[in-house]
């Protein structure tokens, strides 16, 4: 059993969960995820790790409440325990000295990109952070990102953060500030990473996105997480979750994500953003 240390709704519908899992914490690297079960009948759901604390042996997840399993996680309290936290799974995000790295985070991806930003900064990269949200009140952790970033831009659909629009607007923001990226990394919901891969393609640099297809085991056993990358079948749980967004068959991926929409709707009557 894994003990819940902290559970907090940090912005509407996004929750922060900290659990004790010392063996995982010893090994984890940026970009990796864990699979969690909230109780003995729950699904196994994959969640990226957004932070960890080695002396305490704890790790932190930021998740959006979209369905039954995330709903159960959202109702946990400190002192509760959950039966499964397994990991760290997936390949770590590639960390190297790339030069200027544009890091785009939205939704839970604001949390999950934080360890990557920390590691890239430590390697001597120039970090340009772009956070995207519907509105100012859905942003979080800017204060953690700001000291690591040369530039920090927040884009919101209602303009409440200064920059109005969607991730597409980051192109003009970067151009206005004369930033030429050597690499782009995007974390967040499928729609955000899809748009990032399309909208920023003109920079002609790798656009590394963290994919989030449906998963069960997370070890390469079931094949449900398969995606087509550069014409080849890959398993996101063991070959990814990071891939170059320019090479992904997005149409197929978006359709596969919706496979269980009807069944899930049966379990939860009002899910959050529809889950994609």
């Amino acid at each position: 059993m894994f003990e819940v240390i902290e559970k907090e709704m940090i912005v509407p519908n996004l929750h922060l969960l900290t659990v004790r899992a010392p063996e995982i914490v010893e090994e984890i690297q940026p970009g990796q995820f864990v699979i969690v079960r909230s109780d003995d009948t729950a699904e196994r759901i994959p969640l990226s790790v957004s932070d960890w604390n080695p002396p305490e042996g704890t790790l932190t997840i930021i998740f959006m409440e979209v369905g039954a399993s995330t709903g159960k996680l959202a109702s946990l309290k400190p002192g509760d325990s959950i039966p499964t936290v397994v990991g760290p799974l997936g390949r770590p995000t590639e960390i190297d000295k790339f030069g200027t790295v544009v890091c785009i985070g939205g939704c839970y991806g604001i949390g999950s990109i934080f360890p990557t930003i920390k590691a890239l900064k430590k390697k001597g990269n120039k970090i340009v952070t772009i956070l995207e949200a519907r509105s100012r009140n859905l942003l979080y952790w800017e204060e953690k990102m700001a000291p690591l970033s040369k530039h920090l831009f927040c884009i919101s659909r209602d303009g409440s953060t200064g920059h109005k629009g969607h991730v597409k607007n980051s192109v003009e923001i970067l151009k206005q500030n004369k930033i030429i990226p050597d690499r782009i990394i995007a974390n967040g919901c499928t729609f955000l990473i899809y748009k990032s891969s399309k909208d920023l393609a003109d920079f002609n640099v790798p656009i590394i996105v963290s994919l989030n297809p449906i998963m069960i085991d997370g070890t390469g056993m079931c094949g449900v997480c398969r995606v087509t990358v550069d014409g080849k079948m890959r398993f996101a749980c063991v070959d990814g979750p990071d891939f170059d967004g320019r090479l992904i068959d997005w149409e197929e991926l978006l359709k596969r994500r919706k496979q269980y929409v009807n069944e899930e709707a049966f379990l939860v009557h009002n899910s959050g953003c529809g889950g994609i």
């Binding site: 063996e23 995982i24 090994e27 079960r37 009948t41 729950a42 699904e43 196994r44 039954a68 399993s69 039966p83 499964t84 936290v85 397994v86 990991g87 760290p88 799974l89 069960i216 085991d217 070890t219 390469g220 056993m221 079931c222 094949g223 449900v224 398969r226 995606v227 087509t228 079948m233 063991v238 068959d249 149409e251 197929e252 359709k255 596969r256 919706k258 496979q259 269980y260 069944e263 899930e264 049966f266 379990l267």
Partner: protein
């Protein structure tokens, strides 16, 4: 036991093999309960009495773990059920499992002298019976355990190979910790073979038993990820790898990533491990499709098609590229599937999966085959008949054409030797791998095989490991 047999009166051959009562097909096709009820004591005794108690029992030669078959059968005939189970467990720690899923018709029962007359003794059913009697009597004997040796062993993977090694080594006084990647132990017995063929309670009982003997089970631990094999080697005197063959093959045909196309592992895992058949009581969804095609002809394919039927499919097909004779599945399971209304499309090769505008499968294109000369496997090679393509409307496809070993451990253990097939290279007699203090066995070494072969490999590794541990001076 066999020594004091009364072989005085010459037995007349009884060729009347006792059938095992089963749920009738139209009922069981709609539920997930076990198909066969098992023998009653009367049936078991009658069957046991058919055994000729051969002086040179060929049946034993057919059993990969050398069970004293005439011995345990004689016990049943004498109604000494405790003796029967004791004798079975000397060689096989999972009799309730093997009695159900061993391919007896190719092993012990094939060699039985009565097989020449077409009615081998039902060894598997008797084995199952003895194991059930132990439970019914609510008296599970705890064996004596050797004094502690102070040696620590890690077993990676909790399938039949791992269970065998863990169970054996704990009895020899070693301290055993078993690591499992999933949240439940049992390997394929838990996530793959369906409830209607091997009830999960049976597997759970065996896991509980070795835990009672003192085996420490750590689930939710992926060796190669949570910790590497090398890291475990620092903590343990010896390691056994029994991680199975869990990586699903796809067919490499267009449309395999459409919605409604599953690997057998996904389909069966949703169903068994995640309790999909209890949905919405458990929250992992499983789709109920009307027309389901399963590609492949082994036990796995039969399990998928029969699961689909139980979930309400009006038409569940087995699409297999050779003919009925070449089906690799156990005959008993093929017959069960036929009785349950599974439709067999022999000499048929799927060539294309075609989707609708939402990315869901709507039809499959198949090609007719004919049989040519035998190939390396001795089975006649299927040859496509040109221009014979045709379309079948379909709501789901399950790909059950095989599995290969999972590369997680080899990938993170550079000096572990693996074959071109991805299997770990291990000595056939001892199970030793290329790394000192590391043994391996089961599907990870042989590629997808059988429960009893995995257990046999576990047994051999145990002997070698025990030998090493007894001599080792390492602290």
């Amino acid at each position: 036991m066999r020594g004091n047999l009364k072989m005085k009166e010459k037995k007349t051959l009884d060729l009347n093999r006792q059938e095992m009562p089963k749920q009738s097909p139209h009922i069981r096709r709609r539920n997930f309960k076990e198909v066969a009820f098992g023998y009653t004591p009367e049936l078991a005794i009658a069957e046991a009495k058919r055994c000729l108690q051969c002086k040179k029992p060929f049946c034993v030669e057919g059993c990969p773990v050398d069970i004293n078959i005439p011995g345990f059968i004689q016990c049943i005939a004498n109604e000494e059920y405790t003796g029967a189970i004791r004798m079975l467990k000397e060689k096989n720690c999972l009799p309730a499992v093997c009695g159900r899923v061993c391919p007896q018709e190719e092993q012990c029962e094939q060699r039985c002298v009565l097989n020449k007359k077409g009615a081998p003794v039902a060894i598997g059913r008797l084995e199952r019976f003895a194991a059930e009697m132990e439970v019914i009597k609510a008296h599970i004997e705890m064996p004596e355990i050797d004094p502690p040796t102070g040696k620590k062993v890690a077993v990676v993977g909790s399938g039949p190979a791992g269970i065998t090694v863990a169970g054996d080594l704990i009895m020899l006084g070693h301290e055993v910790t078993m690591y499992e990647a999933l949240h439940e132990a049992g390997g394929v017995l838990t996530y793959g073979i369906p409830e209607f063929r091997l009830p999960k309670a049976v597997v759970q009982r065996e896991i509980n038993y070795i835990q009672k003997l003192g085996v420490k089970l750590i689930t939710n631990f992926v060796v190669g990820k949570t910790k590497t094999l090398k890291q475990l080697l620092d903590q343990y005197h010896a390691i056994f790898i029994g991680t199975g063959a869990g990586l699903p093959w796809f067919m490499n045909i267009p449309g395999e990533n459409l919605n409604g196309v599953y690997s057998a592992n996904e389909y069966l895992t949703r169903m068994n491990l995640m309790g999909g058949f209890q949905y919405p009581r458990s929250s992992t969804p499983i789709k109920k499709h009307k027309r389901v095609a399963v590609f492949g002809g082994g036990n796995v394919a039969m399990d998928c098609a029969r699961t689909a039927a139980r979930l309400g499919a009006e038409k569940a097909y087995i699409v297999y590229r050779r003919s009925r004779q070449e089906l690799p599945a156990r005959l008993e399971e093929v017959e069960n599937a036929e009785e349950e209304g599974i439709i067999f499309q022999f000499l048929t090769l799927p060539t294309k999966l075609i989707g609708n505008e939402n990315g869901w499968i709507k039809e499959i294109e198949c090609l007719k085959m004919r049989l040519g000369e035998p190939d390396d496997s001795g089975r006649r090679r299927p040859i496509p008949i040109e221009g014979s393509e045709y379309i079948m409307p379909m709501d789901a496809c399950i790909i059950a054409i095989g599995n290969s070993p999972n590369p997680l451990i080899p990938d993170t253990t550079p000096d572990l030797e693996v074959s071109w097939r991805g299997t770990i290279v291990a000595d056939e007699e001892t199970g030793k791998t290329s790394i000192d203090r590391v043994w391996a066995g089961g599907d990870i070494v042989t590629g997808a095989a059988t429960v009893i072969l995995a257990m046999g490999a576990g047994r051999k590794a145990t002997l070698s490991m025990h030998d090493y541990l007894s001599k080792s001076k390492q602290k």
